[in-house]
């Protein structure tokens, strides 16, 4: 699309280092959605998600994450969040899951057709000698001034040297139909 005063280029040159592995979509009511049998052939994983839950609340809510079905107290969490008036920080140890606290989902009394978004990275997920670190940039907004909608940066660690072969996303109220988690693999050189 050449535009006066602009040097424009358009191409569809595929790169082979970022690949779609799988997508999980909620039919409605599931309290968890999982990716299983994740191949160990990538350097990192990325999850891009749209999430809404069935909780009857006008605001955003938390999304919990576990690896390899491990529900032991083997995780820790940190977060830096904003709710439109205040920036806040918190952390915790010996948790039974990773978490995107208050920002990973939109509840079902919020503006219709609106979903929270999460951009999650898991580095060196296939290592058998290192613990695993997850980070996420997440948030929700519903075109209001309410401080019930939160966004932020999130970090969690899983204290296991096992390769990550499955990822489970959980919300106890259940996911709204249309909630989608897309898993991508990023290759190293």
């Amino acid at each position: 699309m050449p535009i006066l005063g602009v040097i424009a280029s358009s191409k569809l040159a595929s790169t082979n280092s970022y690949e779609s592995i799988a997508t999980a979509t909620a039919a409605g009511g599931e309290t968890s959605l999982s990716f299983t049998s994740i191949p160990s052939t990538y350097a990192s994983l990325q999850v891009r998600s749209l999430v809404r839950t069935l909780r009857a609340l006008d605001g955003s809510d938390s999304l919990l994450i576990t690896f390899n079905s491990d529900s032991g107290a083997n995780y820790s969490r940190h977060r830096l969040t904003g709710d439109g008036t205040t920036a806040a920080a918190a952390g915790s140890a010996s948790n039974t899951s990773m978490a995107i606290i208050n920002a990973g989902t939109v509840c079902d009394s919020s503006l219709a057709n609106t979903f929270a978004v999460n951009l999650i990275d898991i580095h060196d997920y296939a290592s058998t000698t290192k613990y695993k670190t997850l980070r996420s940039f997440s948030g929700a907004n519903a075109n209001s001034a309410s401080t019930s909608f939160v966004m932020g940066l999130f970090s969690s660690a899983w204290y296991s040297t096992s390769a990550v072969t499955s990822i489970t996303f959980t919300n106890s109220f259940g996911f709204k139909a249309g909630t989608t988690f897309s898993l991508y693999g990023i290759k190293g050189a």
Binding site: A8, N16, Y18, D83, T86, L111, T114, N141
Partner: protein, 165 residues
């Protein structure tokens, strides 16, 4: 497996301009990512994003930022655009933005994740924001505009498409 992260188009300013638009965006991807690196010639500093030429009151955002001395959060609703800049873009040092648009071709409202990084050797700002375009139509065009003045020669915007399985 097929590659799923593709460059759709790049625009680099050969002369100063107050906006850059990507139009006729195909609906064949799941998400969009816009990478924008700019310097200013002059004028207002606010970089703003709109979709499909829509202004009105369809946009909102919540953000948090640090300018090197404080961390704070703010929000706005019923706006004519998503304001993706909080600081003042330099005439010489590029400011770096990314805008991720989720399910841009879907029938839900469109949620964005925005990053802004600028450092000017003694001042600067880092910010993160979640924005909403309260419109269920598929996005077919994206415009990055300035509140005043022009972006400098060499300002570059690249639009990527990301496709899921």
């Amino acid at each position: 497996m097929p590659a799923t992260y593709e460059s759709i188009a790049t625009q680099t300013l050969a002369v100063g301009a107050s906006s850059i638009t990507f139009s006729s965006i195909p609906a064949t991807y799941t998400d969009l990512r816009l990478v924008f690196v700019c310097t200013n010639v002059s004028g207002g500093d606010q970089a703003k994003v709109t979709f499909n030429g829509v202004t009105g009151t369809s946009y909102s955002q919540t953000y948090m930022y640090s300018d090197g001395s404080i961390a704070d959060s703010g929000s706005s609703a019923n706006q004519p655009e998503v304001n993706i800049a909080l600081g003042g873009t330099s005439t010489t040092i590029p400011t770096f933005y990314t805008v991720d648009v989720f399910s841009y071709a879907g029938s839900t409202n469109k949620t964005l994740l925005v990053t802004c990084n600028e450092d000017k050797n003694g001042s600067g700002l880092v910010s993160r924001a979640v924005g909403l375009f309260s419109n269920t139509a598929a996005i077919t065009s994206v415009t990055i505009a300035k509140s005043g003045g022009t972006y400098a020669v060499g300002t570059t915007a690249t639009l990527y498409g990301i496709k899921n399985a």
